[in-house]
Each structure stands twice: as C-alpha cells, then as structure tokens.
C-alpha cells in the first residue's frame, strides 16, 4: 500500500459512506457559526421541523457586524443589530453554545477556535466562511461552506463531498529578518495565481513552515482560499501540541496523552503521492505589497507597479488595466511611493497576539505620519486584546497614534462602521484587496503587520527592514 497524504488520512477517517461516483458523506467534528451566514440555515431547520444533530459540535460567535468602539452601547445599525440578536435567539432556541458580543472570549471565529482549543488535530471543521482554512494549521481538514451546507451540517452532522486533489507547497530554507508568514503566502499566491489551487487541498511543508509559530501557520493556511483552495493544512509537530495543551476545549489527563499519540500520526507518509508540488525558497522572499484588486497582484516592496502592456494574455491584461484604473496607479510607480490614508491591523489573517507584537515592535517610540488619517488595531479576540494589554502593547499603539479597538472582523470587510471612504487607500493586514472590499471605492494594499506599522510611520510603503527595531 502506498503512503497517504495528511489530507487523505483525515479524509479517510471521516468518510461515513461513498457512492460509486465518488460522492461521499463526510462526518463533521466541529461547526463554527457566525451571525452572517447562519440565520437562513436555522430558518431552514425550523421550516422543515428539524433539530440539530449534535449541538455540542457547534460553537457560535458574532464577529462580522460587531462594533469596535463603545460596545457597551450595543449596535447602533438596526439591521446589524437584528442579525446579531437573531444569532443569539437561534443559539438559545436550538441549544448551540455561543460566546456573546460582550464575552471576553468573543472574537473572530477563526481566532477563537484555536484559542479555545476547539480546533483539534485530525478534526473536520466547517464554517460558513471561506477563511475556515485557518484551522488547517492544526492538521485539521477545515473549509468554508455556504449557508445551505451550514443547514445540512446542523441537520445531519455530515456534508456531501468529493475528494480533492493534493497539492504540496514546500517552502524551504530560512526566512530573512523582517519577512513574515504573510509575505510567504502573498508570494505563493503571486506565483500560482488566485485560481492556482482550485480543486486542491494544499499541504504547506518545508523548513520555513516548520520554523513558523502556530500563529504564522494560521496566517498561511488562512489565505489558501485566495489561491483558490478550500483547505490548506500543516502537519502536527511539537508546536501544535504545545499550543493546545491546557486550552479549555482540549482533552485533559489520560485522554490528553491518548489524543497526542493519535495526533502524532497526522503527517503525510514519506511515500505519499501529491498530484502537484510547488517549491519556494524562503531566503529570497521579500516583504510583499499588493498593488491591484486581486490577491495575486502582488510585488516585493522594492518593486514597481507592473505594466499591463507587458502581459501577453489579453484577459489578464484587461484585468490589470481595470485594476490600475480602480487603484488610481500608473505602471512603473515605485511601491515605496504609494501613500496610504488609513492603516488597518487585524483580521483572521493577522489579528493574533504575535501579529500585534510584530506591529508594536515597529511602532515603539515612533509616531504615525501626518498624512495617515486613521490607524487602527483591532485584536482578533477579547483574549488577544487582554494579552496585548497585559504586555503593554496597547500603550505602544496609542502612543504612536493608533486607535485601540474592540475585537471583530472590522475593516477587513467593512460590514460594521469601520471602512474606507471612496478613493481612500489603506495599508491592511487583511486578506482581500477586491474592489469595494473595505468600503465602496476604497483601495486596499495587503501587507504584513510589521509592514503596515512601517507604512503608518513613514506615511508611504517602506521596507520594514530599513527601520531600526
């Protein structure tokens, strides 16, 4: 028997049944629920007179709509408020565990899962959110689903799935100082394209991935969808296990030892076959900045906005031309000459404690530049916020001129009040630079937390390695 990939191992251990055409029923261990993609699923259950299959497999939290200021005043937008109240009502009615908005444990759904130990190796995890792949950092098969599937999992604890192909992305060598997990994933997407991994589950491997913290691995897996893959994962090692020990949902006592022994098996076999392999050398990855309206439109910070005229593919060329018009940029403009108006540090990509530490290290003893209209830090969860405050990071941020906010998705997708105004430009640690993503007419440049902090200080993009830290 040939070896199996990590993905195949998790898949095989969750197949309830398969039809001859390969359509399988896959058992789901954990469903994370938030307010935006669940109300219609609960309504569907109600209309059909169905009950959830297993309520303790779910964990719910409001994150997309929640305000990041004056939270004790509640949500002022009545439509947002109704959506968050609807989540609370549904969770009460159906018995789903919920962290409410003012609970210290509230936060972005993909931050709180690992933080609580509700994300455990070998699990299948779903959520009505495309960044569910984040949890793959813990050797889980985690992917985003639509609302009909949220209802399907609530009703049956299973999903109808076909097996995807296996893509190995090996990042070998060692990252240079000042270069982060965010730069690795932006470099990967720049190389393989935004549909480069469609139909695949990605396994991230190699010395540079092994060297990353769990937070860094989460950043990488998080943006798998920006390369087209529904899921991305990393094998279990000591870091995975150390991170989870003692977390509220993690097993305890003798069961912990039993679980760890099982988790140690969660690596691809040496003779496993991948359908495709991509290799990157970590040593040559530079800090990256996106220039366009798709996450594949990225360049190293010492680069320039590319010229569509040099692109032979007419469809791609038109995409680049449209992006330049929307972004109000000229071909050949140096990235370091682009000046953001707002700086956003947060999101399920880069809203964890390590991200805040990296940004604070750059900001310590510095002030944001005069042209920066707003710089804000939105911690990924209440517990991240609490930890950062215990370390004094909030003081560093506020002394530098940043606003220190309450946790949530915030300006990553601007469903709450935090947004770009038309034509405003951001340096953002989030995951999508789509047209209008951070506010209608807003222009997003994706960067790492350290690069966002550096841009805030300089007033333009700058190689963070030029700053003394």
């Amino acid at each position: 028997m040939t070896g199996r990939t990590l993905y195949e191992k998790i898949w095989d251990s969750h197949v309830v049944r398969c039809d001859s055409d390969g359509t399988c029923l896959l058992y789901v261990d954990r469903q994370l629920v938030h307010e935006v993609t669940s109300p219609q699923a609960f309504e569907g259950l109600r209309l059909a007179g169905r009950k959830p299959w297993r309520v303790d497999a779910s964990l719910a939290v409001p994150d997309h709509n929640v305000p990041t200021v004056d939270r004790l005043l509640g949500i002022s937008d009545p439509i947002s408020r109704l959506q968050v109240e609807t989540l609370e009502k549904n969770c009460t009615e159906f018995g789903i565990p919920l962290f409410k908005m003012n609970d210290i444990r509230q936060g972005i759904v993909h931050v709180i899962g690992p933080e609580q130990g509700a994300t455990l190796p070998g699990m299948t995890i779903v959520c009505g959110d495309s960044h569910t792949a984040t949890h793959g950092a813990f050797a889980t098969l985690a992917f985003g689903i639509g609302t009909s599937e949220v209802e399907h999992v609530l009703a049956t604890q299973c999903l109808l799935q076909k097996k995807s192909k296996n893509l190995l992305i090996s990042v070998d060598g060692q990252l240079g100082p000042g270069v982060t997990a965010k730069d690795i994933i932006l470099a990967i997407i720049g190389q393989i394209g935004t549909a480069g991994a469609t139909g695949y589950t990605i396994e991230y491997a190699g010395a540079a991935i092994r060297a990353l913290s769990m937070e860094g691995r989460m950043t990488i897996c998080n943006m798998s969808i920006e390369a087209g893959a529904r899921a991305g994962l990393v094998a279990v090692d000591d870091k995975t296990i150390d991170y989870l020990q003692g977390r509220p949902f993690a097993p305890q006592g003798g069961e912990w030892e039993q679980a760890v022994a099982a988790w140690r098996q969660l690596t691809s076999d040496a003779d496993a076959c991948f359908d495709r392999t991509v290799q990157l050398d970590a040593a040559i990855i530079q800090p990256h900045v996106s220039w366009g309206t798709s996450p594949e439109m990225v360049v190293p910070v010492d680069g320039c906005v590319p010229d569509p005229a040099a692109e032979p593919n007419p469809v791609k060329r038109k995409g680049m031309e449209d992006a330049l018009v929307y972004m109000d940029l000229q071909p050949g403009t140096r990235i370091v000459d682009i000046r953001p108006d707002k700086v956003f540090i947060g999101s399920c990509t880069n809203g964890r404690i390590e991200d805040l530490r990296a940004a604070a290290a750059v900001l310590k003893g510095r002030k944001i530049a005069a042209n920066i209209k707003l710089a804000m830090v939105v911690p990924g969860s209440g517990l991240v916020k609490q930890q950062a405050e215990a370390e004094g990071l909030d003081t560093i941020f506020t002394n530098a001129g940043f606003e220190w906010r309450e946790p949530g998705c915030s300006m990553c997708l601007a469903m709450n009040a935090d947004r770009l105004e038309p034509k405003e430009r951001s340096a953002s640690t989030s995951n999508r630079n789509f047209e209008g993503r951070q506010g209608q007419g807003g222009r997003t440049h994706l960067v790492s937390p350290a690069m966002a902090a550096a841009a805030a200080v300089a007033g333009h993009f700058i190689d963070v390695r030029e700053l003394e830290i």
């Binding site: 058992y27 993609t37 497999a57 964990l59 495309s130 969808i225 949902f249 099982a262 999508r432 047209e435």
Partner: protein
C-alpha cells in the same frame, strides 16, 4: 430547490475575469436574515452610481449606463456569460441567491471558484464550463447578434447556439441528478441515518475527546 432541465434564455456577457462574490453582492446586503430580495442589489457597485444600502428602493437609483446589465438589449437575461474564476473569494451563498433573484438560471464560463459553484448547485443555478475557444466564440456572437439566446439541455449536457453550433459540457453526475429532479441534499443524507449513527459511535470510541466539549 427548483428543478433545472432545459433553458432557452437571453444571454448577457460579463467580460471580466476573477469576478469575486464581494462584487456580486456587496457586504452591506449580507446583513439580511432572509434568502430572498437580493436581486435588485446584484453587482450593486457596478450597476448603480450611488452607494447602495439594504431596504433601498432601487427603482429610483441612478444607474451606471456603462454596466452591461443596464443595457436595454440585455434586459431579461437568464444566462450570464463570464470569464475565468467567476465567484472567487467569500463563501457567501448570497451571491447565487442574488443571481437567481435577478433572473439568472445558468452561468457559462471557462472556470468557477469552488465554493461558489457548490453554492449554485444548492439553489438550482447551473454553472457550466466550456472550453476557452467556445467561450471566445460565445463572447463574439453575443456582442454581434442582438437578442442572442442559448439553449441549454442538462439531460444531454449541451449548449446550442442560434448559429447552429452545439457544445458539449459535463457536470458532476450527482449534481446533475439533483438539479434535474430538484432534490434536496438534506433529505438524501437523512436516508443514511443508520450509517451516520454507526459511524459516529465508532468515531467516538476511537476519539472520545472529540465528543467531550465543556459547558461554556
């Protein structure tokens, strides 16, 4: 779910690649707790010149005359012709809900994003892929021929053009059956309750920690 068997529909071309679900239905409309009513806000930022908000009456809003769906010749279109990687980004099922509510029953393109395509199937919207050369031909013909319609037959998996060409497509056989018969996935899965229960018990024996979640 509404059945999908045949469709003879007017075609509208959207000549852009990587159309993301944020563009298909912007975030402010995701605050709704309903499945319906998204059609007037489909492609909101491209379709209107002002800023859209939920519960707006769109009949009075200024339209962007350059946006393809605002051209009189494409009114009533049921088939959207697209480019690569249509539906990328967010998993929001509001995207196919908005397309369906607007009147689209089928999408034709060279490729679709994974989660989006899956969400279409669940709502009786057919996302079908054709070869790049066939897509090019359709873009040329729809521009050249006013009132351009295509006939889609899911049973035979064919698209027929008014110029006499017939293109073959292929979709997942399970999805095809579901669309043809309007089958509900949950009903299908619940036919296997005994197997799910048996699996769950084995899974619990092997991984007891997965079934011991704390009270929160």
């Amino acid at each position: 779910m509404e059945k999908f068997a045949q469709l003879d529909g007017l075609v509208a071309p959207l000549d852009r690649s990587n159309v993301d679900t944020d563009a298909i239905i912007p975030k402010q409309f995701l605050k709704s707790i309903k499945r319906t009513g998204f059609g007037p806000f489909l492609f909101d930022e491209w379709r209107y010149l002002d800023h859209g908000e939920p519960d707006m009456d769109c009949s009075e809003r200024p339209r962007n005359p350059d946006f393809i769906l605002n051209q009189p010749r494409y009114q009533g279109a049921q088939i959207l012709l697209t480019r690569e990687n249509f539906g990328c980004g967010s998993s929001r099922e509001h995207a196919p809900w908005a397309l369906l509510d607007y009147g689209f029953r089928a999408l034709i393109g060279p490729s679709f994003a994974d989660i989006f395509r899956n969400n279409c199937y669940k709502n009786g919207v057919l996302p079908l892929t054709l070869a790049p050369a066939e897509i090019e031909q359709l873009f040329r013909e729809v521009a050249a021929i006013p009132g351009y319609r295509l006939q889609i037959d899911l049973e035979s998996e064919t698209v027929s053009t008014p110029t006499g060409a017939t293109f073959q497509f292929s979709i997942d056989p399970f999805r095809r059956q579901c669309l043809l018969n309007g089958l509900d996935d949950i009903d299908l899965t619940l036919q296997h309750v005994a197997e799910i229960t048996a699996f769950e018990e084995r899974h619990r024996q092997a991984n007891p920690w997965l079934f011991r979640n704390p009270e929160i």
